[in-house]
Amino acid sequence: MTELQEDYPQEGEVRIPSGCAISGIFSRNGKRFGGQDAIRSIAVMHDRSNGLGGGYAGYGIYPEYKDYYAFHVFYYDNDAKNTCEKFFDEHFDVINLSKIPIRKHPRITDEPLIWRYFVTPLPTKLAASQLDEEEYVVRCVIKVNTDIKGAYVFSSGKNMGVFKAVGFPEDVGEFYRLDEYEGYAWTVHGRYPTNTPGWWGGAHPFALLDYTVVHNGEISSYDANRRFIEMFGYRCTLQTDTEVITYMIDYLHRKQCLTLDEVAHVIAAPFWSTIAMMPEERQKEYIYLRNTFASMLITGPFSIILGFNGGLMALNDRLKLRSLVAAEKGDMVYLASEESAIRIVEPDPDRIWYPRGGEPVIVTLSETGKKVVAAESK
């Protein structure tokens, strides 16, 4: 395929609203399992996608390289690859590199070159940059994605990875041989864009460091959010909701050190009338957050599953204009756009519920889980 298709504007040149399906599966005890459950779950919701994008994020999948940033990169030609690899060599110590293994699939075509690198920042470069390690990595990733034509880093966290393509999500899962990976958490996305740019980088999840976002919805606050977050060095090059949501979460959680619960109450803030009924101390905090981060309120329909090392967070817009279901069975947690997508992998959950609008479902590894994940990493 060519990077710039002539018939359609490329992703990022035009804003494309899309409907979607999302699903997430998580083991609190850090038990690792293959990607096939996520594939089965999203396959049930086939009609919520239209074959123009699907993708997965798996956590805990690279225990042998857990201290290295895993970069997954699309290249559209060898020139881009050479330029990008030169950039990597200048900024990182590259421990391992390889093509990401794929299985040829009749419905997944025109794939770019797909490579994986395990890297760590060059200590001298990092020191000279006066940045912390994560910020250094973020800036390098943004630099590649905005400046190197034909190269796109679509996954950049530790011990996790994103796999995405143009196609139906179940086909994308087979294409990337996800049954051969094992992780303690998986999220998946099927896309229904209202336009056909057919660009692999535009598929979801969208990722920055270990944050990944799968999202269903079309937010009406997009440009208010975008213009605000761009003040802090982010560049919304894809013009998608998912991108801006990921950046906002990165800003609030990593840079402002808000808890995930607080993050949820910024981006899906309670109504003033609800805040007015809270006890005084809580009220003060909520007013403070809403006022301070007013431009990070998201309006319009959305349901998202945020993945991060050690957990997942599901969140609906405050009016709950998109479906989102949660369920539990033992230490397993299931999150999906539809109940059917949960029951296909867990027909008999202990508990199933519909989270209220604006109320986050946050699940993290149990103490056992943390030990398990740490032990596997050794």
């Binding site: 804003r15 609203p17 899309s18 409907g19 209202t194 919805g217 079309e218 937010i219 009406s220 606050s221 997009y222 440009d223 208010a224 959010n225 213009r227 605000f228 761009e230 003040m231 802090f232 402002q256 050190c257 808000l258 607080e262 803030a269 109504f271 003033w272 009338s273 101390e281 003060k284 905090e285 007013i287 403070y288 957050l289 809403r290 006022n291 301070t292 981060f293 007013a294 431009s295 309120l297 998201i298 309006t299 319009g300 329909p301 405050r318 009016l319 204009l321």
Partner: protein
């Protein structure tokens, strides 16, 4: 001299069959247009005195009166219009500066009318404000740059002082003196009922109105009239007036004739002296001086009041705003060149400054580029005529708007643009007790409340249509706007796409 004769612009048409000689028009007209002719036994009028304020038209019980534009004309000339010719006659006759009031009537582009608002269809639901919460509450003030935590891990919620508005609209500065006691009282009462703010302007605060302090912004202008510690502490916020959209670069002049009684007392100047506000503040010749005044006022009020710096929209407004945003000010108010005035030299009003839409767009962008948009809130004014103008202003990047002309129209102003004559028949821009009492503050405030509530309903409807249920998600949301009939350059400055894109 015959060449000084100017044919009246308007003619008073009286339907004699309807006229019952009740003489209401005569009593109502402070300009003394109407008179009863004992010999003719009928009402006659001298249209040369008529300012076309419609007071007589509105009060004539038999609808016998109307005012029409005269068809007396000079020989047609696209360059030398009748107005251009008569201005020369006037100035050749008097040697004076031409005075005018209210915003410029010239045919400059109104960019509000060249922008269209979006609505949701299919991919995203619109929201019905009658069924779902629709929030217009707005806080003005600096936003914290970094979250700080208390020792127990909870968030430290202390902020710099903020203004809370129930609707993102405030009544902008009009001094007591330029407008009447009853007009001020109407604004104060309405601001209180609405949960918003009115602004004293530069004439001080009448002692009767200290009770409305929590809904009052007190202004400090170059003349420093009526400024004392009690005044600064009385309001909810303090505004430093650096400029005014209708007359950027020049000061103000309230003639001694208006400095009577309470006006003199409130301004703290002797009766009958002219109140002259210098063009600049003579303690502010540069941006660092502004910073000193900002902090002087904050010191004087114990850092409890947000400080607003009001500037006129001029060519380099974004650079000025950038400086103001770093001066310690909490809020920047920008006044566009179509904004109103109680009196200004006509040439200045009609030729100096830039439209508020362009000023707002470039200031908002500049502050974001510099990463300091959160240091200040932006309030804009200078001809906000309706709720759609407000929605567009907020989508361009304003936090709130200032309205004054709209508020005066709600009180009865008919935009005759002769405030500077001090004979306002509607009791607004006058100090004559017999005229002032025509404006009932209870009725006036009710009309202002109605207007803002009506606008609020409309704002909510349009927000709901866009699928936005809180005003902060509209702020700076320029994708919600499209230009219509604008050039590439205009679109670029406004930061919006053209309709169809």
């Amino acid at each position: 001299m015959a060449i000084n004769y100017l044919y009246p612009d308007y003619e008073v048409i009286r339907n004699q069959q309807r006229c019952i000689n009740c003489r209401v028009c005569e009593r109502q007209c402070a300009n003394e247009v109407h008179r009863y002719d004992e010999e003719l036994k009928m009402m006659v009028s001298d249209e040369s005195k008529c300012v076309n304020c419609h007071r007589c038209v509105a009060l004539c019980p038999t609808r016998a009166l109307k005012i029409v534009k005269t068809d007396n004309t000079f020989k047609e000339n696209a360059n030398w219009t009748g107005e251009a010719i008569t201005d020369v006659y006037r100035q050749a006759g008097t040697g004076g500066v031409l005075l005018a009031s209210m915003g410029t009537p010239k045919n400059y582009p109104v960019y509000w009318d060249r922008m269209l608002i979006n609505a949701s269809q299919v991919t995203n639901p619109s929201i019905d404000p009658l069924r779902e919460p629709m929030e217009t509450t707005t806080f003005l003030g600096q936003k914290s740059a970094k979250i700080r935590r208390n020792p127990d891990g909870s968030i430290n919620t202390k902020t710099t002082p903020q203004l809370k508005l129930s609707v993102p609209v405030m009544f902008s500065a009009m001094s007591y003196g330029s407008i009447s006691y009853n007009a001020h009282k109407s604004l104060a009462l309405a601001a209180q009922k609405l949960g918003i703010f009115y602004n004293t302007g530069e004439g001080g605060l009448h002692e009767d109105f200290y009770q409305y302090g929590p809904n009052t912004i007190v202004q400090v202008a170059s003349g420093r009239f009526g400024v004392h510690p009690g005044y600064l502490k009385a309001g909810a916020a303090i505004e430093i007036k650096m400029g005014q959209g209708a007359k950027p670069g020049i000061g103000g002049h309230l003639p001694g004739a208006k400095i009577v009684g309470d006006v003199s007392k409130t301004r703290m100047i002797p009766q009958g002296t002219d109140a002259i506000s210098p063009a600049p503040h003579h303690d502010i010749y540069s941006i660092e001086d502004l910073r000193q005044l900002v902090f002087m006022l904050k010191e004087a009020t114990n850092y409890e009041k947000p400080v607003i710096v009001k500037i006129a929209a001029v060519h380099n407004v974004s650079a000025i705003a950038s400086g103001v945003a770093r001066s310690g000010a909490d809020i920047i108010a920008i006044d566009g060149f179509r904004g109103g005035t109680g009196a200004a030299p006509a040439r200045t009003r009609d030729n100096v400054g830039i439209p508020i839409e362009l000023a707002l767009a470039c200031v908002d962008r500049r502050l974001r580029e510099e990463g300091i948009r959160n240091n200040v809130s932006i309030v804009i004014g200078g001809s906000i005529r309706n709720s759609a103008d407000i929605v567009k202003a907020i989508a361009l990047g304003a936090d709130a708007v200032y309205v004054a002309t709209s508020a005066l129209i709600a009180l009865g102003c008919h935009l005759c643009r002769t405030c500077h004559l001090g004979k306002c028949n509607w009791g607004i821009a006058t100090q004559r007790p017999d005229l002032v009492k025509r404006l009932n503050p209870e009725v006036g405030s009710e009309r202002l409340v109605n207007l803002i509530n009506a606008w609020n309903h409309e704002i909510k409807e349009m927000m709901g249509g866009m699928g936005i249920n809180s005003i902060e998600a509209l702020r700076g949301n320029r994708l919600m706007l499209r230009g219509i009939g604008l050039t590439e350059k205009e679109l670029q400055i406004l930061g919006i796409l053209h309709a169809g894109e």
